[in-house]
């Protein structure tokens, strides 16, 4: 038609060239779309399906009878009942496990293991992908699976009983496998009332409003100043890196017991053990009497970089891989220029005996004890040991997470920890922690808090020392000294467990 227009000046480039380039650009753009679709539909498919906000799960919550959750002895921890309309709801026989198990409620969604294993419990995810593909078309598309835990309900109940009215947490693991034996957090709450449609609204509102925060699973989400139990981490870093040996003594230590250790103008005080006199302590004695100044000096000698990186091997600085989400434990707030993220030598010295900016979850400290107990090998912690449904069962085997230190170094620390529980001076710090008839290793902690708040009471340890079968971390919020609350709880629980195994 009317071509050439004004028949004007010659064309610089034919228009066709631009069109071809345009086509190439559009082709590339659609290639990116296809890649994007591939990313979400194939590469990310597994992690997105079964997310707690997957509508398939929410739909399933209404009509699927979820799988049961049982402890290591077969005790039912979570099961389902049907209401008057024939719609299922969850029943939780014991309140002791509530913070770990969580709840599955029609009105309030899911929490805890019920949330983490929502896809498996409600059965939208099957063990076999091909089978799963087929199941999408069947009317009976849900294949609920049961969970079996390594947890012992008896131990868990005893832990909750011993914590009593205090806020606190107990984590017990088998150091050889990483299996969690008890994971208590107090106060607990009534998950059954939240799952029961009749009482859900009131129970949820009351629990959420409780200033003691029962919904917080202190074992994995509570971050506490660790105090002296962190000295075991410093010991692993110092001995592991070779910065100190078991015979290392610091001549600055005895005089500093009286006047305090001056670090860049800041005075680190101790004063717990004037009775050790003017003789510099060696490593085992320093652990036994929990000498802050010895560990401050050890930390300074080890250096910030080494302390941070050895702590990271134990799990600090990143969420610990576990069945439920975990909070990140930290040695320091990070960002400092002193090395390893420390702001200066004062912070490093304080962190070395668990003060400063150091924060740890009870699970993290239980792993520290477990690493020492298992000869320096850290097993991946887990609580779910088996998934089973009508398509068969899948067992979750123990898995080595990291080799933290050599067995020799672990042995040296173990010996020192035995001294801290069984030694003449050590006993004073850890009354009640020793399991009768069994050589027990441990370390207590008294975490000083800002202001006049009562310190947190800590204990970590394991038994029997020569063949560890159980590792433990006990925390009692504002429970006073480590000796006062945490040590006896730990001793009783380890004894109970070893008794039950022996039977």
């Amino acid at each position: 038609m009317s071509g050439g227009g004004r028949g004007g000046p010659p064309r610089a480039t034919p228009i066709g060239q631009g069109i071809v380039r345009l086509g190439i650009v559009l082709l590339a753009a659609f290639g990116i779309l296809a890649a994007g679709a591939g990313y979400w539909q194939v590469a990310r498919s597994a992690d997105l399906v079964g997310r707690p906000d997957d509508p398939l799960l929410i739909a399933a919550a209404r009509d699927v009878v979820r799988g049961q959750i049982r402890d290591r002895d077969g005790h039912v921890l979570a099961t389902s009942k049907k209401d008057a309309n024939g719609e299922p709801y969850r029943v939780y026989p014991s309140k002791a496990v509530a913070p770990l198990i969580g709840y599955a409620s029609r009105q309030f969604g899911t929490a805890g293991l019920e949330r983490a294993y929502d896809a498996e419990l409600s059965g939208i995810r099957g063990p076999d992908p091909v089978d799963e593909l087929m199941a999408k078309f069947t009317t009976d598309r849900y294949r609920p699976q049961d969970l079996k835990l390594s947890l012992s309900l008896d131990l868990q109940k005893e832990a909750v009983r011993l914590l009593g009215s205090d806020r606190g947490s107990v984590v017990m693991l088998d150091p050889r496998s990483g299996e969690v034996l008890a994971m208590a957090s107090t106060p607990t709450y009534d998950a059954g009332a939240i799952a029961d449609p009749a009482t859900a609204a009131a129970a949820f509102a009351a629990t959420a409003a409780d200033p003691a925060k029962p919904f917080l699973d202190r074992a994995v989400q509570g971050r506490y100043v660790p105090g002296s139990v962190f000295k075991i981490v410093t010991a692993i870093a110092g001995l592991g890196s070779g910065a100190i040996g078991t015979g290392t003594r610091f001549v600055r230590q005895p005089p500093a017991e009286k006047t305090g250790l001056l670090v860049s103008g800041f005075r680190i005080k101790d004063g717990h053990h004037d009775f050790t006199g003017a003789r510099p302590l060696a490593f085992p004695e320093a652990v036994e009497v929990s000498c802050n100044i010895y560990f401050a000096l050890t930390g300074l000698q080890t250096g910030g970089d080494a302390l941070s990186s050895w702590a990271a091997k134990l799990g600090f600085g990143a969420p610990i891989p576990f069945d439920v989400p975990t909070a990140t434990s930290q040695v320091t707030n990070g960002g400092g220029s002193f090395g390893g993220g420390f702001a200066d030598d004062v912070e490093l010295a304080n962190a070395s005996y668990g003060q400063g900016e150091t924060l740890a979850t009870p699970l993290q400290m239980a792993l520290v004890a477990a690493a020492v107990a298992d000869g320096g090998t850290l097993m991946k912690p887990h609580v779910v040991t088996q998934l089973s449904g009508r398509d068969g069962a899948t067992n979750i085997a123990p898995e080595t997470w990291r080799q933290v230190v050599s067995p020799e170094v672990a042995g040296q620390i173990r010996d020192a920890m035995v001294l801290a529980v069984e030694g003449d001076s050590g006993k004073l710090f850890t009354p009640g922690a020793a399991v009768p008839g069994v050589v027990t290793a441990g370390k207590s902690g008294t975490a000083q808090l800002d202001g006049s708040a009562k310190p947190h009471s800590w204990f970590i340890g394991f038994a029997p020392a020569n063949d560890p079968q159980v590792a433990i971390a006990v925390l009692v919020e504002s429970g006073g000294s480590g000796a006062a609350k945490a040590s006896p709880i730990a001793g009783k629980l380890m004894a109970d467990y070893l008794d039950s195994v022996a039977k």
Partner: protein, 477 residues
Amino acid sequence: MSVATALPGRLTFGPIRPRSRRRELGLLVLVAVALVVGSVSLGATRALAEGSASFAPWDPARLVVYLAALGMAHVAQVLAGRRTDQVLLPAVGLLGGLGLLLMERLPQDLAGSAFGDSLGLAGVQLVWLVIAITVIAVLSIVVRSDTWLRRYKYTWATAGIGLLLLTFVLGEEANGALLTIRLGPFSGQPTELLKVILVVFLAGYLSEFRPLLISESTRLGPLRLPPLPYLLPMIVMWALAFGIVVIQRDLGAALLFFAVFLALVYVATSRVSYVVIGLILLVLGGIAAYHLFDHVRVRVDIWLDPFADPSGDGYQVVQALIAFARGGLLGTGLGGGLPLVGGRLPIPAIHTDFPLAALGEELGLIGIMAILGVYLVIIERGLRIAAAAADDFRALLAAGLALVVGVQAFIIAAGNLKLIPLTGITLPFISYGGSSLLANAVVVGLLLALSDRGVEPPPPPSRSRGRFDRLLRRSTS
């Protein structure tokens, strides 16, 4: 001039001679077979969900009406005898059919109007699809000259702006955007039509001033620009449309207009500098919009991390991604996806903004690739028509029309897939909605008309003609 007597009488537009379109017919048959199989798949999945085994197609009546409309469009083209493209109609037919199947499997009360309640979602969509196919057929047959588009470009531009201003007066707010005009029982989204008008205007303007735009007289530092007076009206037109669209909060349309504008300027001038300037303006505008407008900031934040608030702001995007993920490679099958929670869909705007997510779930990655492939086919056809066009105006017009479809499909698909921030724009030919279907039908109708390679030279006069042909000639002369 002795030949004169041998010629038949008047030939106002030349005799209309039917011309078979075997390729189009073949492709349409494939489309029909695919859609019937799809309908059977949907029907069987639905029946199974209710506990029975049946392989009857889902709602065969609507499918028959739709296929009949496609067939009629084909017959009309055959009778018109123009040598137009034979791939566009089947490609559009397949996408429209997929959209129809999708609407049939969604809850029918999504239509949400008095008109829609009686017909249901699929019924309304079918009505618009039939109208759209009719528009395609009529435009491709009737439009023989582009002068009316070419000559009145400023009139078109004015009409477009008027249409937008009308939205301010009569506009209704939906999802935070002023998009819809309502006149009595009818409502429509003028930006859909505006995109066609914009392309017509740009093609007219750029083809007329192309030589001047290429010549360099203004220098701005290292940049060589055309004489400013020639660039000004275009910038004004664009800024006006852009500004109004931003005020209307229709980000998708703004992005579409901008991309089409830049691409057409590039095609017309082959100047990378224009594209670079345009992209810099886009980035600056985007940053400014992010800081100035809450609705832009919310969209961008959702895009950056929808999982930050999966049950609040990020809800739809997260649900769309989960839908894609559930689909996997092969999909859940038509009717097998989109679990209802308490009788509601997880994604409320699935029929307008997220049809790709729904198809992604039910047809899987394999299906998505095929759908993207069909869009590429439409783009390829459009650009080929542009490349073969007789002059600059037609070339730019065809390229612009192809771009409108391609870029719009890209913007919404990329939004669904979290490659760019989500914008409320429709997926051409698949999304529910009359405005969108009509506007895209105009695009395809014009492309078909532009693809006409002229009436074939008639055979020598001595050859005898068929009776049908004589009949037709008698009726038209």
